[in-house]
Protein backbone atom coordinates (compact mmCIF):
# COMPACT_ATOMS: atom_id res chain seq x y z
CA UNK A 1 0.00 0.00 0.00
CA UNK A 2 1.65 3.25 -1.07
CA UNK A 3 1.53 6.52 0.92
CA UNK A 4 -1.44 8.08 -0.88
CA UNK A 5 -3.53 4.90 -0.75
CA UNK A 6 -2.80 4.39 2.93
CA UNK A 7 -3.73 7.97 3.75
CA UNK A 8 -6.97 7.76 1.77
CA UNK A 9 -7.85 4.47 3.47
CA UNK A 10 -7.20 5.83 6.95
CA UNK A 11 -8.84 9.22 6.34
CA UNK A 12 -12.03 7.56 5.09
CA UNK A 13 -12.34 5.67 8.38
CA UNK A 14 -11.26 8.59 10.59
CA UNK A 15 -13.81 10.92 9.00
CA UNK A 16 -16.67 8.42 9.10
CA UNK A 17 -19.33 9.50 11.65
CA UNK A 18 -19.37 7.88 15.08
CA UNK A 19 -22.31 5.78 16.26
CA UNK A 20 -24.86 7.40 18.61
CA UNK A 21 -22.90 5.90 21.53
CA UNK A 22 -19.77 7.65 20.18
CA UNK A 23 -17.95 4.55 18.99
CA UNK A 24 -16.49 3.78 15.60
CA UNK A 25 -18.99 2.33 13.17
CA UNK A 26 -18.92 -1.46 12.80
CA UNK A 27 -19.12 -1.06 9.00
CA UNK A 28 -16.75 0.84 6.73
CA UNK A 29 -18.15 3.04 3.96
CA UNK A 30 -17.62 0.24 1.42
CA UNK A 31 -19.81 -2.10 3.49
CA UNK A 32 -16.88 -4.16 4.73
CA UNK A 33 -16.68 -5.02 8.45
CA UNK A 34 -14.65 -2.20 10.01
CA UNK A 35 -12.58 -4.72 12.00
CA UNK A 36 -11.37 -6.26 8.71
CA UNK A 37 -10.93 -2.84 7.08
CA UNK A 38 -8.74 -1.66 9.98
CA UNK A 39 -6.76 -4.91 10.15
CA UNK A 40 -5.72 -4.49 6.51
CA UNK A 41 -3.45 -1.54 7.34
CA UNK A 42 -3.14 -1.16 11.14
CA UNK A 43 -1.22 -3.56 13.34
CA UNK A 44 -2.86 -4.78 16.55
CA UNK A 45 -0.82 -4.92 19.75
CA UNK A 46 -1.12 -6.93 22.97
CA UNK A 47 -3.74 -4.51 24.38
CA UNK A 48 -5.65 -3.11 21.44
CA UNK A 49 -7.06 -4.53 18.22
CA UNK A 50 -6.56 -2.73 14.91
CA UNK A 51 -10.17 -1.54 15.20
CA UNK A 52 -9.57 -0.06 18.67
CA UNK A 53 -6.41 1.72 17.57
CA UNK A 54 -8.16 3.26 14.59
CA UNK A 55 -11.12 4.19 16.78
CA UNK A 56 -8.90 6.47 18.90
CA UNK A 57 -8.30 8.65 15.83
CA UNK A 58 -11.91 8.42 14.65
CA UNK A 59 -13.21 9.69 17.98
CA UNK A 60 -10.60 12.42 18.30
CA UNK A 61 -11.49 13.72 14.86
CA UNK A 62 -15.17 14.06 15.67
CA UNK A 63 -14.73 15.39 19.19
CA UNK A 64 -12.24 18.00 18.03
CA UNK A 65 -14.34 19.26 15.11
CA UNK A 66 -17.65 19.16 16.96
CA UNK A 67 -16.25 21.14 19.87
CA UNK A 68 -14.78 23.66 17.44
CA UNK A 69 -18.21 24.21 15.84
CA UNK A 70 -19.87 24.41 19.27
CA UNK A 71 -17.37 27.09 20.26
CA UNK A 72 -18.00 29.08 17.09
CA UNK A 73 -21.81 28.70 16.97
CA UNK A 74 -23.19 28.80 20.53
CA UNK A 75 -26.24 30.73 19.33
CA UNK A 76 -27.11 28.06 16.79
CA UNK A 77 -26.72 25.44 19.51
CA UNK A 78 -29.05 27.42 21.78
CA UNK A 79 -31.72 27.61 19.08
CA UNK A 80 -31.57 23.96 18.05
CA UNK A 81 -30.76 22.31 21.37
CA UNK A 82 -27.76 20.04 21.89
CA UNK A 83 -29.05 16.94 20.14
CA UNK A 84 -30.25 18.63 16.95
CA UNK A 85 -27.14 20.81 16.86
CA UNK A 86 -24.93 17.72 17.00
CA UNK A 87 -26.91 15.99 14.24
CA UNK A 88 -26.64 19.08 12.08
CA UNK A 89 -22.88 19.40 12.66
CA UNK A 90 -22.33 15.72 11.89
CA UNK A 91 -24.27 16.02 8.64
CA UNK A 92 -22.46 19.24 7.71
CA UNK A 93 -18.98 17.87 8.40
CA UNK A 94 -19.76 14.64 6.54
CA UNK A 95 -20.97 16.59 3.53
CA UNK A 96 -18.40 19.38 3.71
CA UNK A 97 -15.19 18.15 5.36
CA UNK A 98 -12.71 20.88 6.23
CA UNK A 99 -10.77 22.18 3.25
CA UNK A 100 -8.71 24.71 5.15
CA UNK A 101 -5.53 24.31 7.18
CA UNK A 102 -7.15 26.18 10.05
CA UNK A 103 -10.14 25.25 12.21
CA UNK A 104 -11.05 28.93 12.14
CA UNK A 105 -12.64 28.33 8.74
CA UNK A 106 -14.63 25.25 9.72
CA UNK A 107 -18.00 27.05 9.68
CA UNK A 108 -17.29 28.99 6.49
CA UNK A 109 -19.77 27.00 4.36
CA UNK A 110 -22.40 26.42 7.00
CA UNK A 111 -24.82 29.07 5.73
CA UNK A 112 -24.71 27.93 2.10
CA UNK A 113 -24.95 24.29 3.18
CA UNK A 114 -28.01 25.03 5.33
CA UNK A 115 -29.71 26.78 2.43
CA UNK A 116 -29.27 23.62 0.36
CA UNK A 117 -30.21 21.34 3.25
CA UNK A 118 -33.08 23.10 5.03
CA UNK A 119 -34.35 19.96 6.75
CA UNK A 120 -31.62 20.24 9.39
CA UNK A 121 -33.12 23.49 10.65
CA UNK A 122 -36.70 22.26 10.34
CA UNK A 123 -39.31 24.91 11.06
CA UNK A 124 -36.63 27.25 12.41
CA UNK A 125 -34.90 27.79 9.06
CA UNK A 126 -35.19 31.59 9.06
CA UNK A 127 -33.86 32.16 12.57
CA UNK A 128 -31.19 29.47 12.12
CA UNK A 129 -29.88 31.14 8.96
CA UNK A 130 -29.88 34.52 10.69
CA UNK A 131 -27.91 33.12 13.61
CA UNK A 132 -25.34 31.33 11.44
CA UNK A 133 -24.75 34.52 9.43
CA UNK A 134 -24.31 36.56 12.60
CA UNK A 135 -21.94 34.09 14.26
CA UNK A 136 -19.83 33.80 11.12
CA UNK A 137 -19.73 37.61 10.86
CA UNK A 138 -18.57 37.69 14.48
CA UNK A 139 -15.59 35.47 13.56
CA UNK A 140 -14.73 37.57 10.51
CA UNK A 141 -15.01 40.85 12.40
CA UNK A 142 -12.77 39.50 15.17
CA UNK A 143 -9.72 38.82 13.00
CA UNK A 144 -10.45 40.65 9.76
CA UNK A 145 -7.95 43.14 8.38
CA UNK A 146 -8.04 46.75 9.58
CA UNK A 147 -6.74 49.65 7.53
CA UNK A 148 -5.70 53.00 8.91
CA UNK A 149 -8.92 54.81 9.82
CA UNK A 150 -9.71 58.21 8.39
CA UNK A 151 -10.15 60.89 11.03
CA UNK A 152 -13.57 62.61 11.08
CA UNK A 153 -11.89 65.86 9.94
CA UNK A 154 -10.40 64.11 6.89
CA UNK A 155 -13.82 62.85 5.88
CA UNK A 156 -15.39 66.29 6.27
CA UNK A 157 -12.56 68.01 4.37
CA UNK A 158 -12.73 65.70 1.42
CA UNK A 159 -16.44 66.09 0.86
CA UNK A 160 -18.03 66.12 -2.55
CA UNK A 161 -20.47 63.89 -4.33
CA UNK A 162 -17.76 62.10 -6.35
CA UNK A 163 -15.95 60.93 -3.28
CA UNK A 164 -15.60 57.20 -2.86
CA UNK A 165 -15.15 56.09 0.73
CA UNK A 166 -13.96 52.66 1.69
CA UNK A 167 -15.21 50.75 4.70
CA UNK A 168 -12.95 48.76 7.00
CA UNK A 169 -12.51 45.17 5.77
CA UNK A 170 -13.59 43.80 9.16
CA UNK A 171 -16.96 45.59 9.07
CA UNK A 172 -19.95 43.35 8.26
CA UNK A 173 -23.40 44.74 7.36
CA UNK A 174 -26.29 42.36 7.82
CA UNK A 175 -30.06 42.31 7.59
CA UNK A 176 -31.94 39.83 9.76
CA UNK A 177 -35.51 38.62 10.11
CA UNK A 178 -35.06 38.02 13.84
CA UNK A 179 -33.30 40.08 16.53
CA UNK A 180 -30.61 37.41 16.87
CA UNK A 181 -28.08 39.93 18.18
CA UNK A 182 -29.98 40.05 21.47
CA UNK A 183 -29.78 36.29 21.77
CA UNK A 184 -26.04 36.17 21.11
CA UNK A 185 -25.44 38.89 23.70
CA UNK A 186 -27.57 36.93 26.18
CA UNK A 187 -25.46 33.82 25.54
CA UNK A 188 -22.20 35.75 25.92
CA UNK A 189 -23.45 37.19 29.22
CA UNK A 190 -24.47 33.71 30.34
CA UNK A 191 -21.03 32.31 29.56
CA UNK A 192 -19.26 35.18 31.34
CA UNK A 193 -21.55 35.05 34.38
CA UNK A 194 -21.48 31.31 34.88
CA UNK A 195 -17.78 30.69 34.54
CA UNK A 196 -17.41 30.26 38.30
CA UNK A 197 -20.95 29.14 39.22
CA UNK A 198 -22.22 25.83 40.57
CA UNK A 199 -23.91 23.39 38.19
CA UNK A 200 -27.33 23.94 39.80
CA UNK A 201 -27.13 27.67 39.24
CA UNK A 202 -25.88 27.20 35.69
CA UNK A 203 -28.85 24.95 34.96
CA UNK A 204 -31.31 27.56 36.27
CA UNK A 205 -29.69 30.25 34.10
CA UNK A 206 -29.67 27.90 31.13
CA UNK A 207 -33.44 27.36 31.46
CA UNK A 208 -33.89 31.13 31.36
CA UNK A 209 -31.86 31.23 28.16
CA UNK A 210 -34.03 28.54 26.56
CA UNK A 211 -37.07 30.64 27.42
CA UNK A 212 -35.40 33.64 25.78
CA UNK A 213 -34.94 31.64 22.57
CA UNK A 214 -38.56 30.50 22.58
CA UNK A 215 -39.78 34.07 23.02
CA UNK A 216 -37.82 35.49 20.10
CA UNK A 217 -40.38 36.97 17.68
CA UNK A 218 -39.69 37.92 14.06
CA UNK A 219 -38.55 41.50 13.61
CA UNK A 220 -36.48 42.93 10.78
CA UNK A 221 -33.25 44.43 12.05
CA UNK A 222 -30.16 45.89 10.40
CA UNK A 223 -26.82 45.35 12.05
CA UNK A 224 -23.19 46.39 11.75
CA UNK A 225 -20.78 43.84 13.22
CA UNK A 226 -17.62 45.80 13.91
CA UNK A 227 -14.56 46.04 16.11
CA UNK A 228 -13.25 48.57 18.60
CA UNK A 229 -10.03 48.02 20.56
CA UNK A 230 -9.92 44.38 19.44
CA UNK A 231 -13.42 43.58 20.74
CA UNK A 232 -16.35 42.78 18.48
CA UNK A 233 -19.55 44.82 18.87
CA UNK A 234 -23.01 44.71 17.31
CA UNK A 235 -24.56 48.06 16.37
CA UNK A 236 -28.18 48.29 15.29
CA UNK A 237 -28.70 50.47 12.21
CA UNK A 238 -31.71 52.16 10.72
CA UNK A 239 -32.82 50.84 7.34
CA UNK A 240 -31.49 53.92 5.51
CA UNK A 241 -28.19 53.75 7.38
CA UNK A 242 -27.81 50.14 6.32
CA UNK A 243 -28.65 50.96 2.70
CA UNK A 244 -26.22 53.88 2.60
CA UNK A 245 -23.37 51.91 4.12
CA UNK A 246 -24.09 48.95 1.83
CA UNK A 247 -23.94 51.24 -1.22
CA UNK A 248 -20.60 52.67 -0.03
CA UNK A 249 -19.31 49.15 0.60
CA UNK A 250 -20.24 48.23 -2.97
CA UNK A 251 -18.04 51.05 -4.25
CA UNK A 252 -20.65 53.71 -5.07
CA UNK A 253 -19.62 57.36 -4.84
CA UNK A 254 -21.21 59.38 -2.04
CA UNK A 255 -23.50 61.06 -4.57
CA UNK A 256 -24.61 57.75 -6.03
CA UNK A 257 -25.11 56.23 -2.59
CA UNK A 258 -27.21 59.10 -1.28
CA UNK A 259 -29.36 59.47 -4.41
CA UNK A 260 -29.74 55.67 -4.58
CA UNK A 261 -31.04 55.55 -1.04
CA UNK A 262 -33.07 58.77 -0.85
CA UNK A 263 -33.70 59.64 -4.49
CA UNK A 264 -36.51 57.24 -5.26
CA UNK A 265 -39.64 56.38 -3.36
CA UNK A 266 -38.80 53.61 -0.98
CA UNK A 267 -38.68 52.84 2.70
CA UNK A 268 -36.03 55.55 2.99
CA UNK A 269 -37.76 58.46 1.29
CA UNK A 270 -37.58 61.71 3.14
CA UNK A 271 -33.95 62.16 4.15
CA UNK A 272 -33.23 64.45 7.04
CA UNK A 273 -29.89 66.13 6.15
CA UNK A 274 -29.03 66.68 9.80
CA UNK A 275 -29.64 63.03 10.56
CA UNK A 276 -27.53 61.83 7.61
CA UNK A 277 -24.69 64.15 8.66
CA UNK A 278 -24.94 62.71 12.15
CA UNK A 279 -24.66 59.18 10.78
CA UNK A 280 -21.51 60.03 8.85
CA UNK A 281 -20.03 61.63 11.96
CA UNK A 282 -20.79 58.49 14.00
CA UNK A 283 -19.38 56.14 11.38
CA UNK A 284 -16.18 58.09 11.10
CA UNK A 285 -15.93 58.33 14.93
CA UNK A 286 -16.15 54.53 14.97
CA UNK A 287 -13.26 54.35 12.47
CA UNK A 288 -15.33 52.63 9.79
CA UNK A 289 -13.90 54.69 6.90
CA UNK A 290 -10.41 53.81 5.87
CA UNK A 291 -9.20 55.19 2.54
CA UNK A 292 -10.35 57.80 0.14
CA UNK A 293 -10.56 57.23 -3.56
CA UNK A 294 -11.48 59.97 -5.98
CA UNK A 295 -13.69 59.07 -8.87
CA UNK A 296 -11.16 57.97 -11.51
CA UNK A 297 -12.84 59.71 -14.44
CA UNK A 298 -13.11 62.91 -12.42
CA UNK A 299 -9.39 62.73 -11.57
CA UNK A 300 -8.51 62.10 -15.20
CA UNK A 301 -10.46 65.17 -16.32
CA UNK A 302 -8.66 67.33 -13.76
CA UNK A 303 -5.13 66.19 -14.67
Amino acid sequence: MNLLRLQRTMARAVMQPLTPSEHMSKRAQNGEAMSRYAARFIKPNDRLTSFERLEIYNRQYWWRLMSSLAEDFPGLQAILGNRRFESLCKAYLTDRPSRSFTLRNLGRDLESWLRRNPRWAGSKQAIVLDMVRLEWADIEAFDGAAREALRPADVRKSGGSNLRLRLQPYLRLLKFHYPVDALVLEIKRFNDDTEFLSNAFRERKKRKRVTAVAKLKPKTIFLAVHRIDDSVYFRRLEAAEYDLLSAIQKGKTLGQAVSGVFGKPSRNSGADPAQVTGWFRNWSDLGWFCALQRNRRQNARRS
Partner: protein, 287 residues
Protein backbone atom coordinates in the same frame (compact mmCIF):
# COMPACT_ATOMS: atom_id res chain seq x y z
CA UNK B 1 30.74 11.92 26.56
CA UNK B 2 28.84 12.52 23.27
CA UNK B 3 27.59 16.08 23.32
CA UNK B 4 27.05 18.67 20.66
CA UNK B 5 26.72 22.42 20.86
CA UNK B 6 23.10 23.53 21.44
CA UNK B 7 23.42 26.56 19.18
CA UNK B 8 23.48 25.06 15.73
CA UNK B 9 22.47 25.80 12.15
CA UNK B 10 19.05 24.25 12.74
CA UNK B 11 18.05 26.79 15.39
CA UNK B 12 19.70 29.77 13.77
CA UNK B 13 22.75 29.50 16.10
CA UNK B 14 20.70 30.65 19.06
CA UNK B 15 20.82 29.58 22.68
CA UNK B 16 17.35 30.34 23.96
CA UNK B 17 16.98 28.58 27.31
CA UNK B 18 13.58 27.64 28.74
CA UNK B 19 10.35 28.87 27.18
CA UNK B 20 6.65 28.26 27.43
CA UNK B 21 3.81 28.25 24.94
CA UNK B 22 2.02 31.58 24.52
CA UNK B 23 -1.65 30.87 25.35
CA UNK B 24 -4.58 33.31 25.52
CA UNK B 25 -5.46 32.74 29.23
CA UNK B 26 -2.02 34.18 30.05
CA UNK B 27 -2.11 37.23 27.75
CA UNK B 28 -3.25 39.63 30.45
CA UNK B 29 -0.68 38.43 32.99
CA UNK B 30 2.18 38.65 30.50
CA UNK B 31 1.26 42.08 29.17
CA UNK B 32 0.63 43.65 32.57
CA UNK B 33 3.22 41.90 34.79
CA UNK B 34 5.90 41.42 32.13
CA UNK B 35 7.37 38.30 33.77
CA UNK B 36 10.92 37.28 32.94
CA UNK B 37 10.69 34.43 30.42
CA UNK B 38 13.49 33.30 28.12
CA UNK B 39 11.16 32.94 25.13
CA UNK B 40 7.66 32.09 23.97
CA UNK B 41 6.58 29.55 21.41
CA UNK B 42 3.50 30.48 19.39
CA UNK B 43 1.20 28.22 17.40
CA UNK B 44 1.70 29.76 13.97
CA UNK B 45 -1.83 29.02 12.73
CA UNK B 46 -3.36 31.13 15.53
CA UNK B 47 -1.66 34.19 14.08
CA UNK B 48 -1.95 33.50 10.34
CA UNK B 49 -4.87 35.91 10.14
CA UNK B 50 -5.44 39.39 8.76
CA UNK B 51 -5.86 41.45 11.95
CA UNK B 52 -7.51 41.79 15.33
CA UNK B 53 -6.58 40.98 18.89
CA UNK B 54 -4.26 37.98 18.31
CA UNK B 55 -1.90 39.99 16.09
CA UNK B 56 -2.14 43.02 18.35
CA UNK B 57 -1.11 40.91 21.36
CA UNK B 58 1.64 39.24 19.35
CA UNK B 59 3.12 42.60 18.38
CA UNK B 60 3.20 43.66 22.03
CA UNK B 61 4.85 40.36 22.99
CA UNK B 62 7.42 40.80 20.23
CA UNK B 63 8.44 44.16 21.68
CA UNK B 64 9.51 42.45 24.92
CA UNK B 65 10.23 38.80 24.22
CA UNK B 66 11.82 36.35 21.84
CA UNK B 67 9.28 34.29 19.92
CA UNK B 68 9.63 31.01 18.02
CA UNK B 69 7.00 29.68 15.64
CA UNK B 70 5.59 26.17 15.92
CA UNK B 71 3.04 24.90 13.41
CA UNK B 72 0.39 22.21 13.59
CA UNK B 73 -0.91 21.85 10.06
CA UNK B 74 1.90 21.89 7.50
CA UNK B 75 1.60 18.09 7.31
CA UNK B 76 5.04 17.39 5.84
CA UNK B 77 4.03 13.74 5.51
CA UNK B 78 0.80 14.20 3.56
CA UNK B 79 0.86 12.88 0.02
CA UNK B 80 -0.97 16.09 -0.95
CA UNK B 81 0.92 19.04 -2.37
CA UNK B 82 1.78 21.88 0.00
CA UNK B 83 -1.02 24.42 0.32
CA UNK B 84 0.48 27.59 -1.23
CA UNK B 85 -1.92 29.88 0.64
CA UNK B 86 -0.76 28.31 3.89
CA UNK B 87 2.88 28.88 2.95
CA UNK B 88 2.26 32.47 1.92
CA UNK B 89 0.57 33.30 5.21
CA UNK B 90 3.27 31.46 7.16
CA UNK B 91 5.98 33.49 5.46
CA UNK B 92 4.20 36.73 6.31
CA UNK B 93 4.22 35.67 9.94
CA UNK B 94 7.89 34.66 9.80
CA UNK B 95 8.71 38.17 8.62
CA UNK B 96 6.67 39.62 11.48
CA UNK B 97 8.18 37.49 14.27
CA UNK B 98 11.76 37.09 12.98
CA UNK B 99 11.64 33.56 14.34
CA UNK B 100 15.13 32.01 14.16
CA UNK B 101 13.59 28.67 13.12
CA UNK B 102 10.17 27.20 12.45
CA UNK B 103 8.96 23.79 13.47
CA UNK B 104 6.09 21.51 12.57
CA UNK B 105 5.29 17.83 12.94
CA UNK B 106 6.55 14.72 11.21
CA UNK B 107 3.06 13.51 10.41
CA UNK B 108 0.22 13.78 7.95
CA UNK B 109 -3.29 15.14 8.42
CA UNK B 110 -4.87 15.90 5.08
CA UNK B 111 -5.55 13.98 1.92
CA UNK B 112 -7.17 15.08 -1.36
CA UNK B 113 -7.50 18.57 0.13
CA UNK B 114 -9.56 17.38 3.11
CA UNK B 115 -8.17 18.20 6.54
CA UNK B 116 -8.52 16.06 9.66
CA UNK B 117 -6.88 18.70 11.89
CA UNK B 118 -5.04 15.89 13.63
CA UNK B 119 -1.40 14.77 13.74
CA UNK B 120 -1.73 11.35 12.11
CA UNK B 121 1.16 8.87 12.25
CA UNK B 122 3.39 8.14 9.28
CA UNK B 123 3.95 4.76 7.72
CA UNK B 124 7.71 4.30 8.22
CA UNK B 125 8.57 3.54 4.60
CA UNK B 126 11.33 4.76 2.30
CA UNK B 127 8.71 6.15 -0.08
CA UNK B 128 7.20 8.25 2.73
CA UNK B 129 10.65 9.38 3.91
CA UNK B 130 11.58 10.56 0.44
CA UNK B 131 8.32 12.44 -0.17
CA UNK B 132 8.35 13.99 3.29
CA UNK B 133 11.95 15.15 2.97
CA UNK B 134 11.18 16.74 -0.38
CA UNK B 135 8.35 18.73 1.16
CA UNK B 136 10.46 19.89 4.09
CA UNK B 137 13.05 21.21 1.62
CA UNK B 138 10.32 23.01 -0.34
CA UNK B 139 9.02 24.70 2.82
CA UNK B 140 12.49 25.66 4.04
CA UNK B 141 13.45 27.11 0.66
CA UNK B 142 10.27 29.16 0.51
CA UNK B 143 10.42 30.43 4.09
CA UNK B 144 14.18 31.01 4.09
CA UNK B 145 14.53 29.97 7.74
CA UNK B 146 15.73 26.67 9.24
CA UNK B 147 13.04 24.03 9.71
CA UNK B 148 12.86 21.50 12.55
CA UNK B 149 10.51 18.52 12.48
CA UNK B 150 8.87 17.16 15.61
CA UNK B 151 8.22 13.51 16.39
CA UNK B 152 4.53 12.96 17.27
CA UNK B 153 2.73 10.74 19.77
CA UNK B 154 0.99 7.85 18.07
CA UNK B 155 -1.63 5.25 18.85
CA UNK B 156 -1.37 3.12 15.73
CA UNK B 157 1.33 1.39 13.67
CA UNK B 158 1.09 0.27 10.08
CA UNK B 159 1.78 -3.11 8.47
CA UNK B 160 3.65 -1.40 5.62
CA UNK B 161 6.34 0.13 7.89
CA UNK B 162 9.84 -0.86 6.91
CA UNK B 163 11.75 0.61 9.88
CA UNK B 164 11.35 1.91 13.43
CA UNK B 165 10.06 5.39 14.13
CA UNK B 166 13.52 6.72 15.07
CA UNK B 167 15.06 5.19 11.95
CA UNK B 168 12.37 6.94 9.92
CA UNK B 169 13.03 10.25 11.68
CA UNK B 170 16.75 9.89 10.94
CA UNK B 171 16.06 8.97 7.32
CA UNK B 172 13.89 12.06 6.83
CA UNK B 173 16.14 14.60 8.54
CA UNK B 174 19.27 13.31 6.78
CA UNK B 175 17.57 13.46 3.37
CA UNK B 176 16.12 16.94 4.05
CA UNK B 177 19.17 18.13 5.97
CA UNK B 178 16.87 19.69 8.54
CA UNK B 179 16.66 20.01 12.30
CA UNK B 180 14.74 18.02 14.91
CA UNK B 181 12.33 19.28 17.51
CA UNK B 182 12.71 16.38 19.91
CA UNK B 183 9.54 15.89 21.95
CA UNK B 184 10.56 13.60 24.81
CA UNK B 185 6.98 13.34 26.09
CA UNK B 186 5.87 12.09 22.68
CA UNK B 187 8.67 9.54 22.71
CA UNK B 188 7.50 8.35 26.11
CA UNK B 189 3.82 8.18 25.07
CA UNK B 190 4.60 6.24 21.89
CA UNK B 191 7.01 3.93 23.72
CA UNK B 192 4.20 2.95 26.09
CA UNK B 193 1.68 2.56 23.29
CA UNK B 194 3.99 0.52 21.08
CA UNK B 195 6.19 -1.20 23.69
CA UNK B 196 9.65 0.03 22.74
CA UNK B 197 12.54 1.36 24.82
CA UNK B 198 12.32 5.18 24.79
CA UNK B 199 16.03 5.50 25.63
CA UNK B 200 16.91 3.58 22.49
CA UNK B 201 14.96 6.25 20.58
CA UNK B 202 16.69 9.19 22.33
CA UNK B 203 20.11 7.55 21.92
CA UNK B 204 19.54 7.05 18.19
CA UNK B 205 18.69 10.63 17.32
CA UNK B 206 21.49 12.62 15.64
CA UNK B 207 22.20 15.01 18.54
CA UNK B 208 23.81 17.62 16.31
CA UNK B 209 20.46 18.15 14.56
CA UNK B 210 18.41 18.81 17.69
CA UNK B 211 17.22 22.41 17.42
CA UNK B 212 14.75 22.35 20.30
CA UNK B 213 13.19 20.04 22.89
CA UNK B 214 9.53 19.77 23.96
CA UNK B 215 8.39 18.55 27.35
CA UNK B 216 4.75 18.04 28.37
CA UNK B 217 2.29 16.03 30.42
CA UNK B 218 -0.15 13.38 29.20
CA UNK B 219 -3.14 11.27 30.29
CA UNK B 220 -2.95 7.57 31.07
CA UNK B 221 -5.88 5.32 30.20
CA UNK B 222 -6.34 1.65 30.85
CA UNK B 223 -4.88 0.42 27.57
CA UNK B 224 -3.03 3.40 26.15
CA UNK B 225 -1.62 6.86 26.86
CA UNK B 226 -2.98 9.99 25.21
CA UNK B 227 -0.86 13.07 24.53
CA UNK B 228 -3.12 15.67 26.15
CA UNK B 229 -0.73 18.42 27.35
CA UNK B 230 -2.88 18.95 30.43
CA UNK B 231 -0.70 17.70 33.28
CA UNK B 232 2.73 18.35 34.78
CA UNK B 233 5.70 16.45 33.32
CA UNK B 234 6.14 13.02 34.93
CA UNK B 235 9.46 11.63 36.19
CA UNK B 236 10.07 9.12 33.38
CA UNK B 237 9.76 12.00 30.88
CA UNK B 238 12.21 14.11 32.90
CA UNK B 239 14.64 11.17 32.77
CA UNK B 240 14.35 11.09 28.99
CA UNK B 241 14.86 14.84 28.93
CA UNK B 242 17.98 14.41 31.07
CA UNK B 243 19.36 11.91 28.58
CA UNK B 244 18.48 14.14 25.62
CA UNK B 245 20.28 17.07 27.26
CA UNK B 246 23.33 14.91 27.98
CA UNK B 247 23.51 14.18 24.27
CA UNK B 248 22.42 17.46 22.69
CA UNK B 249 23.66 19.96 25.28
CA UNK B 250 21.87 22.98 26.74
CA UNK B 251 19.14 23.01 24.10
CA UNK B 252 16.19 25.43 23.82
CA UNK B 253 13.47 23.74 25.85
CA UNK B 254 9.75 24.37 25.83
CA UNK B 255 6.93 23.17 28.08
CA UNK B 256 3.62 22.58 26.29
CA UNK B 257 0.43 23.01 28.32
CA UNK B 258 -2.65 23.32 26.11
CA UNK B 259 -5.64 22.09 28.07
CA UNK B 260 -6.91 22.76 31.62
CA UNK B 261 -4.31 25.52 31.59
CA UNK B 262 -3.29 26.63 35.10
CA UNK B 263 -1.96 30.07 36.05
CA UNK B 264 0.99 31.53 34.22
CA UNK B 265 3.17 31.07 37.31
CA UNK B 266 2.35 27.37 37.62
CA UNK B 267 3.13 26.72 33.97
CA UNK B 268 6.34 28.70 34.11
CA UNK B 269 7.48 27.02 37.35
CA UNK B 270 6.86 23.61 35.80
CA UNK B 271 8.98 24.61 32.79
CA UNK B 272 11.77 25.94 34.99
CA UNK B 273 12.19 22.48 36.55
CA UNK B 274 14.20 21.77 33.39
CA UNK B 275 16.92 23.93 34.93
CA UNK B 276 17.90 21.03 37.21
CA UNK B 277 19.02 19.06 34.17
CA UNK B 278 20.35 21.96 32.16
CA UNK B 279 22.58 23.03 35.06
CA UNK B 280 23.98 19.51 35.24
CA UNK B 281 24.71 19.58 31.53
CA UNK B 282 26.56 22.91 31.83
CA UNK B 283 28.56 21.53 34.76
CA UNK B 284 29.42 18.40 32.82
CA UNK B 285 30.63 20.54 29.93
CA UNK B 286 32.83 22.60 32.27
CA UNK B 287 34.68 19.60 33.77
Amino acid sequence: MERSLPANRFNGFTNYGIGIGLRSPHYHHILTRKPVVDWFEIISENFMIDGGRPLHVLDQILEQYRVVQHGVSMYFGSADRIDREHLRRLKELVKRTNTPWVSDHLCWGSVDGRYTHDLLPMPYTFEAAEKTARKICEVRDFLEVPVAVENVSSYAEFHVSEMTEWEFLNEVVERADCGILLDVNNIYVSSQNHSFDPFEYVNSVPAERVAQIHIAGHSKYEKYILDTHDHPVIDPVWKLYDRAIQRAGHTATLLEWDDSIPTFREVHNEALKANRFLAKSVLARAV
